[in-house]
Structure formats: structure tokens, C-alpha cells
Amino acid sequence: MSERLSVFKTYKLYVGGKFPRSESGRVYEVTGSKDENWLANAPLSSRKDARDAVVAARKAFGGWSGATAYNRGQVLYRVAEMLEGRRSQFTREVADAEGLSKAKAAALVDLTVDRWVWYAGWTDKIAQIAGGANPVAGPFFNLSTPEPTGVVAVLAPQESSLLGLVSVLAPVIATGNTAVVVASERSPLPALSLGEVLATSDVPGGVVNVLSGRTAEIAPTLASHMDVNAVDLTGADPALATELEIAAADNLKRVLRPRTGEDFAATPGTERLTAFLETKTVWHTTGSLGASGSSY
């Protein structure tokens, strides 16, 4: 009896809750990090794919940002649950993508699941950390509240194909932003598979959109797009990052610059959460309850 022939998966983009191929019909060959073996043909996203993803992200923003923080927390936790159930698949993909042993890859997948859990817990706490009442000198109740910035374009780290990706993506959506993610150019497969996890985790379509392809080809479209509100440049090299930051100034996108040697295994702080939050401050007139100014 011959060995069973395995069934390959056609890796596709994840845009607007659906799994399209690149509108350009293009693919590129993805190979293993260590042995250069063929792994898959990933979609080579075009600028049009990027614009479509922005449209999907914008459409999803109202609902996602308007959801209760508790609801978003539950959805993010659901992502962790779904990922947990697919650990063996992601272990294999991360091992292939990053040239790691099964054990090391498994550890990264575990950390990734835990990262979703960490951010799931933040959704209904960040407003209490980042906002609050301000004791203004006058008859006003003055409250500052963090709100999501909007559509965030995320250039995922090039080296850390799953843990790094989730470490930059989860904080963006935890606070109610929607995201267009450009996966690691060399190792996009874990990111594309993550789309399948998100699609089965009650994450509304369009909240996360995953593109694979050439970062330098897709990113300028996102950085200069007038309906994108912020960019995370983590996955850009210094020269590209500078070019993108200049383009981002056209509509004053919030820019998170790449940091050198970011350790995605370490417990994150709140910086990635607050990077894509706006502070809204509302002055409510309190007046007084009578001529005496007293309620008694």
C-alpha cells in the first residue's frame, strides 16, 4: 500500500471576512526558512487588494468600535480558544516558516495563544487606565475617554511570523480599531492561516484583513491612503519606514515607528494599545441646584 498523498491547502487572503485570491491573479512561491523547500504559493497582493482591504476595514469600524468592550474581550478570547485547538497546525507552519524545531515552534504558538488571552483581558480595562475624570476649576464634569483611532495599517514583523504578528495585531483590534495587516513577506503562511482562525472566532468580517505579498509594494498604498488613520511600521526596514512615514503625513496618520530588537516573547506593556487610541474629553455642564449653590 502506498503512502497517502496529502491534501495541500491553497492559501488565500482574508479580506472582509472572505478568503479571496489576489485580484491580480498573482502568487509567489513561499519556501521553508531552513531548507528552501516549496511550501505554498501565496497570493501576491496588489495595490488594489490593499485598497479593497481598507474599504472592508472602514466598513467594519463602526460596528467593532461600537461593540461593548466586554464583547470585544470575549471575541478575542474566542480567538485564543480557536487557536488553542489548532496548535499542531500552527506549530508545523511556524516551524517551517521560521526554521525552528517542533518544540521551539510549539512554545511560540503557546505564547501566541497566551498573547490573545492577555489582550482579551485588556479590552474593558484600558479605558480605566488611559482615561478618567479631570478636576477642572469650574461647574463641569470633565471626562477623558480613549477611543479607537480608526483603520490601522499594520506591517507585521518580518521575522516572527505568528507571535510577532499577533503581538502587533491584537492590541490594535482590542481597543476597537480595525486592521489591514501585511504579513511577513517571506513567511506569510501562519498569518494567512490565522485568517481562518479569526473567521471562526466571531471576529466580524473586515475587522482584520490579512494581505500577503511584497511589503514594499503594498505598504506605500496603505501609508498614503486617505482613509487609513494610522500605520504600524514594525515590518518596514529603516529606508522604507522613512518613506512611509513621509507618505503618512498627507493625512496625519498616527505612526508607530519600528523599534530595533523588539522581543515579542516578553510580556507586552500598554504602549501598543495606547498608540492607536485618541483621547476624547467631554465637558458636561453641571450648573448648580439653586441660588445658594447647595443641593440641601
Binding site: 479631570n134 477642572v136 463641569f140 483611532t149 519606514a241 503625513a249 493625512n251 496625519l252 498616527r254 485618541e278
Partner: protein, 476 residues
Amino acid sequence: MTFEYAPAPESRSVVDIAPSYGLFIDGEFTDAADGRVFKTVSPSTEEVLSEVARAGEADVDRAVAAARRAFASWSALPGSERAKYLFRIARIVQERSRELAVLETLDNGKPIKETRDTDLPLVAAHFFYYAGWADKLEHAGFGSSPKPLGVAAQVIPWNFPLLMLAWKIAPALATGNTVVLKPAETTPLSALFFADVCRQAGLPKGVVNILPGYGETGAALVAHPDVNKVAFTGSTGVGKEIARTVAGTRKKLTLELGGKGANIVFDDAPVDQAVEGIVSGIFFNQGQVCCAGSRLLVQESVHDEVLDALKRRISTLRLGDPLDKNTDIGAINSAEQLARITSLADQGEAEGAERWTAPCELPSSGYWFAPTVFSGVTQAHTVARDEIFGPVLSVLTFRTPDEAVAKANNTAYGLSAGIWTDKGSRILAVANKLRAGVVWSNTFNKFDPTSPFGGYKESGYGREGGRHGLEAYLDV
């Protein structure tokens, strides 16, 4: 019979303006390296107030170097000691507030009523507030030992010269940074007087450096390789230029830019109170306010009533000598700004909006623009889209709260908004949906050092004021 107001001018004698001023670098006044100077005039009379040194690139180098030298010891001071310097500054500003108010009114053209009752109290309060943070930074939520950035390059506008200086310098110093600040070319004097406040407070030399100059000076300052932080308040166009300049560097950037604030009046709002709020929203400081309520969105059913009451009220505003304590509307800050307002208002008329101008006499010298209201404005009109930065109000209508929100948010800006209604739940629901950094409900143009201020979208990023305002000057 009609009652006339008698003139009630504030005395100029409380302020002694020298015929010339230098740059303030490393604790001393000094000429510009290339000897250039410019004149600053009183916008209400066009009288030359003083001649001021104009900083060039060499002066920027000198000032940044002085700030860099001062940074080591200033940042190493215990927070409690930095706090005391800032408390001293707050107190000295209070002591000299009448002098500084008159000075500001002379140099800027805004009414003494505003400099005396708004600008100066807020300046002192801002220093007082941030003084208290200097030794409590580890409690501010930015880590257990937050560090300053280094040298802060700060460029401020002419509409609230001393207040914008306070918004910039107070948090920068409290967190242990040193600063090089460029005041606007039309209003350099109060910043130079502030240098004297620093002298009186015994502030170590080099901690605060003041470089009067034009846009080129600001551009050189923000581009200087040895600054760690750039803070700018001004136009969105210049803000974008600055964002491009600092791209690819490690400089931290905060921008406080333009706005086209919507002031939303629902049909259940008390009309007289709303009208007061509309007036202060657009005519405070001659409308030269980034967060001005320059778009009035009024519910269709009360449009006529509100507009009539508004015109009646505007007709009672007193325009004239800014030093007169009864003056409501002062002078436009510069001939250039007046030309811009004039051109945009003319465009509004040409595009078909209905123009109404308050019946008031304009003084024969100086830069003046009468309060103006455009009604019948659509969202496509230039006067509904572009920031005019003058006493020009555009009136649009809406039928439902959803429409009000959609129209309010239909702008590239996102700085301020106002809501006028008696219904509490509507305030909360509408405030929730507005994409603006500051929302006033049943009030407008209120400011406080504890209250974070700043914009969404193209109104910039970062916050000034409150705990949030510390972040811009900390390495987090």
C-alpha cells in the same frame, strides 16, 4: 434714546516695552548672529511696538546647544526642586499678570477682557498644575521611572501667545526636558517677557531659550539633529510639513493643528444660552481659535428663531480698542490674516451662501473684520470646509441627531464640537459619536490645565493638559 458706553481703557503704563529685544539664549539676551531684526506692531493701531532680533540657523544651533548643556543638570534635579521653579514661575506670572495682559493685548490685538480674564489666569494655572507633577511622575502611569526626552523644540502660534507658551513649556520642564521655543513672528513680546519671568524665578540658564523668528526659524529648529522632541501648534499645512521633516528620525512629535468645529444646537436647547455659547464659540478671540465653533449646525425647526436671536446678540457686540475693558471684539492679528479671512468670506459669498455682517463701525487704522454670519451654507461650501480662523460663522441645518453627527464629522479635522440640548441621554449619545478631541456640552471654549486638549484626524496628534499631556515629554 440710546445709551453709549464711555471709553474705559486699561492703562498702558503697567507695561514697559523696550525699543528692542534680543534672542534669549543660555540665560542672556543676545543679537542674532547675522544681526537681522524685525518689527512687531500693534494690530489695532499698526503702531510699531518694538524691534526684535530674528533668529537664524546659527542662532538655532546656539540655542539647541545651550539647551543640551542645561539638560544634564536640569533633568538630574530632584523633581521636587524642578517643581519649585515652576511654582515660582506660576506665582511670578500671577504677580505680573496685569502687565502681561496689557502687553499681550497690545501685541496680539485681542481684548483686554480676554487676556486679563482668560489667557493670564490659565497661564498661571498651567504652570501651577504641571509644577505639581514634577515630583510625582512615577505615579502618572508611564512606568515606574519615566525619563525626559532631552531638548524640546517648540513652535507656537500667535492666537494665544503666552498661553501656548505655557502649554508647551510647563509640561516640558516638569518632566525634566529643556526647551527652545519659537514664538510667532507677529507676537514675540510676551515670550520675551517670559524670559524675564525665568530670570526672576532664578531658572538655571539654558533651560528655557526663546528664539523669535519667522517660519524659516521654526523649520530650522524642528529639523535640528540634536532636538529630541518637536511640539507644534499651528496650521495643518505646516503640521504636515513638520511630520515629513521628522520622518525617519527618533524625534517624538506632537501636533496641535487646525479645526472646523461643529456647534450642534437641538430644538430643545434653551435658545438664549445656546446663543451665548455660539457667540463665544466663534467670536472669542475674533474666531482666531483652532477649536472655534465655526460651523453652527442648527436643527431645522428652530433655525429661524436661533438665527434671529443670534443676529440680535451679535449686533450688541462691541468692536474696537482692545485695551478698552468693554470691548468684545478686538483686532485681527495681522494684515496677512485679515486678507485670508476677507478672501474666504468673499468666496463664501461668491459660492452662494447668504452673508450677514454685524452693523458696527471699523476703526480707520489697524486690522479689523466685523462679525459675519453665513446662512444657507451647504457642506460643499468652502466656508463649511476650510478653517477661516476669523470671526466668520457658517450656519447649516439638520433634521435628526444622526444627520447632525454625520455633518459634524464630515470634515478632515477633528478638534472640537459643541452640543446644545436639554436631554442628557442625547448629549451622551451624540458626544459618543463625534470624532473630535474636545466636546463641550451646553458650553463652549472652556479650557483647564487638568483637561487634555488635542485633535482627531487632521487636527493633529498628542494631547496637551492633564496627565495625558505628560506623555508628549516622556520617553514612553
